[in-house]
């Protein structure tokens, strides 16, 4: 899937924004909002923090748009900014002692056999995800949920491909262990 599937449109929107058409930025915000929101909510485990990080990332990206060296890859570049904002926000939240807050409103239910069962399952998954270290959680989400290639992840996170592969592997092992343990309880 990647994060540059709408490259042509992004190029045009970025060109217009750089040309002084501020309204064109609304197109980019609308295009990337939901996908980035999913990452931020899962990464931070808290809707309020996620929205703050997301808003900040969009504004920072606008202010620094001249530094986006390839408009066709605007999405990947924006992801990099959000990943950093989430790291900062996550570190701040950790200092406050907030690790995981159940937030039903953040999840938009899809048709399911049992809403109660679904919510319970999602809570367990999010609880397990929150028990990973931020580095492992970040790598797992980018690889398996956001579907990024390792090379793209390396550009977004600043970590090496080998380190990222190791983090994803460890994250999967830990998630399995945590969830298996939860099933036994």
């Amino acid at each position: 899937m990647g994060i540059h599937s709408v490259g042509t449109s992004d190029v045009e929107a970025v060109r217009r924004v750089l040309g002084g058409d501020t309204d064109a930025y609304a197109t980019l915000v609308a295009r990337y909002r939901d996908r980035l929101a999913r990452y931020a909510v899962h990464m931070l485990g808290n809707r309020e923090d996620a929205e703050e990080a997301l808003q900040d990332a969009f504004v920072r990206a606008y202010r620094s748009l001249e530094r986006c060296d390839d408009a066709a890859r605007f999405g990947a570049w924006l992801y990099g900014i959000l990943v950093n904002r989430c790291r900062t926000t996550g570190a701040r939240a950790a200092k406050r002692g907030r690790v995981f807050v159940r937030d039903e409103a953040a999840l938009n239910g899809v048709a399911h056999a049992s809403v109660a069962e679904q919510t319970e399952g999602e809570d367990v998954v999010r609880w397990a995800l929150a028990r990973l270290t931020p580095e492992y959680r970040e790598a797992f989400l980018l690889k398996h949920v956001e579907d990024l290639e390792y090379e793209e992840m390396a550009r977004v996170t600043g970590a090496g491909v080998s380190a990222l592969k190791m983090r994803v592997k460890r994250a999967r092992e830990q998630l399995q262990a945590i969830l298996r343990e939860a099933e036994r309880v």
């Binding site: 040309g19 501020t22 909002r33 997301l54 060296d69 390839d70 990943v83 398996h144 550009r155």
Partner: protein, 179 residues
Amino acid sequence: MFEPDEELIGRVVRQLRRPVTVDAGLDARVMEQIARLPARRPGGPARAAWRWLTRPRTIRLSPLGALAIATVLVAIVLWRPDRRSGPASARAFGFVVVAPRAATVSLVGDFNDWDAARTPMQRTRKDESVWTAVIPLTPGRYRYAFLVNGVSWLADPAAPAARDDEFGAPSSVVTVGGS
């Protein structure tokens, strides 16, 4: 796709891939915040061409090549001439970098919107390997970097590194105090 015992991970991934919604007012808040920022200066073809020429590019170097470049690119600390220019509260700050093999060096930072066209550095007369730029800065904290030959981002090793660099390129920090 998943290995044995990975059915569990597959279920986790399917759950996490479900759509997430955020406050519907987020778009409006972003656009409101942006509207309060200084307006962008529209750029013409020349500006676009310059941006293309000066955009950062990744270059691959052998360890020996990297070492050679590292040995010739040594930044010197900032100096602050005792003169004032620009707005009343601004002070002139000098930036210096040693880059003997560079054809062009630009100073880019928060103070010029990271626009490589706005602050080209000049070679000094005494030593052509030394590049300088003097700009007025009002009190505040600024991130900056040097753009060598329009392709290589270079942080100032003599200054603190920016810790919140989310753009993927190294940068430094200068803090200008009030007087």
